[in-house]
Symmetry: C2
Subunit: 254 residues, 2 copies
């Protein structure tokens, strides 16, 4: 599996192309519905592009790296009936791809920001395919990019994606909430950044259970009440109370 066509031209497509090129795969072509973004990627990586799916070239593997709701339609228009076609979405089933194609999934578990340099070999990749031969091909392919490649079916992948939404999307929104409190408080959000980093690094050597600290864990109701009084937004007050309750419940089980 040496030649690849990438369908899509967003952040995920861009990182996938970069990872493929770093690992000496040949990206034969980029397809995107609109030319502008494909053209940018094409220039950056010196790869031909097209906005006509009927004109995509023959390749060993087609990677659909578009938004979730485009996967199905794009897969239906790939003009090679026996092509191996994978998507890269955590939340979409392998069955989103047109039946009859050699269907698969390559899900890289990371937040892929434009322009950000990432060590691709550290990013866990979860693979799925309908037959064992394709699964082995995908494994060999993914293992050239990442040191951590695992099989995962669509149902488990959805649950993993849901967990990723908690640790990435919701954690980032907690940063947002704290940043808003800092603004109200006349303190720069920067002062919280060493704490934010240390919180993430602590779980490299402690479990979340061991790493838990704070008034909720200590059952320090005075501090919890003082904090709740400071929060005027009803939803935030509720989240604060619920987290405190969940932490206490978790640590009462021990």
């Amino acid at each position: 599996m040496q030649t690849v066509v990438v369908l899509g031209a967003g952040n995920v497509a861009s990182h996938i192309i970069k990872a493929l090129i770093q690992n000496t795969f040949q990206v034969k072509q980029i397809y995107n519905r609109t030319l502008q973004r494909a053209e940018l990627l094409s220039k950056e990586f010196n790869i031909p592009f097209t906005d006509k799916i009927s004109e995509i070239q023959k390749a060993d593997l087609y990677i659909i790296a578009t938004s979730d709701d485009s996967i199905k339609e794009i897969s239906f228009h790939i003009p090679y009936p026996e092509a191996m076609v994978v998507h890269t979405s955590g939340s979409m089933s392998i069955e989103e791809i047109k039946p009859g194609l050699r269907r698969g999934v390559i899900y890289p578990l990371q937040t892929l920001t434009a322009g950000r340099n990432l060590e691709y070999e550290d990013i866990p990749i979860f693979i799925e395919a309908e037959n064992s031969q394709d699964l082995e091909s995908l494994r060999k392919f993914a293992e050239k990019i990442s040191l951590n490649v695992q099989d995962l079916d669509s149902k488990a992948r959805l649950k993993l994606h849901m967990s990723a939404v908690w640790v990435n999307n919701f954690t980032n929104h907690i940063y947002q909430i704290a940043s808003d409190f800092c603004a109200e408080n006349g303190v720069s959000f920067d002062v919280l950044k060493p704490l934010i980093l240390e919180t993430a690094h602590k779980i490299e050597y402690l479990t979340p259970l061991q790493a838990q600290t704070g008034p909720a864990k200590r059952r320090n109701q005075d501090t919890i009440n003082k904090h709740l009084e400071l929060i005027t937004d009803k939803e935030l007050k509720e989240i604060y109370a619920t987290f405190s309750h969940l932490i206490q419940k978790k640590h009462a089980q021990l």
Copy 2:
């Protein structure tokens, strides 16, 4: 201000002693109500210890680094009526310390785990004192330890502490929730660690607003619904829905 007595022998006391010694302050004595922990610290740093507060020595500064609810009582038993006495708590007012003493606060904003090596100069320290001369002494003192020393009154410090509870305690509990989902799912929690680290590192160069991604921000209600179906715990389902709503509200304001 060169000689210091530290009252308390927990994680905070231990890190404070270490930071003081690294910066060539003389820690004359450790006081703790129970001998065992004080003895451990005493051996580690070669500092005399006592469990009798009446026997603590004269020093330029007394740092109370105990649990919040011991601060008041300990301050009342310090046998030097004009001593400079500070506590290190984010959530307690300067007024917790006995009136008449030269009262102050030194609040290091970081999670201080036992045995963990930290770069003390990167930890923001917030100071407060009742008179300007003591405030300047505390500033000079704290600036020998940290590159980031700021004035903050008790009210603003409580709000900052509340923000720290969000980014540290609640974020860590999100790691806990995700870890529990992984266990149910037969996937190692380790696979989420690169994402957790990248989430924290991203806000070094992006605001939380710029860093936000995911189904809630994209208003991808299909994925949100699929995730909600996977969550059986009622409180977790509510938090998921509330975070999704808060993210949408925040990004609709723009």
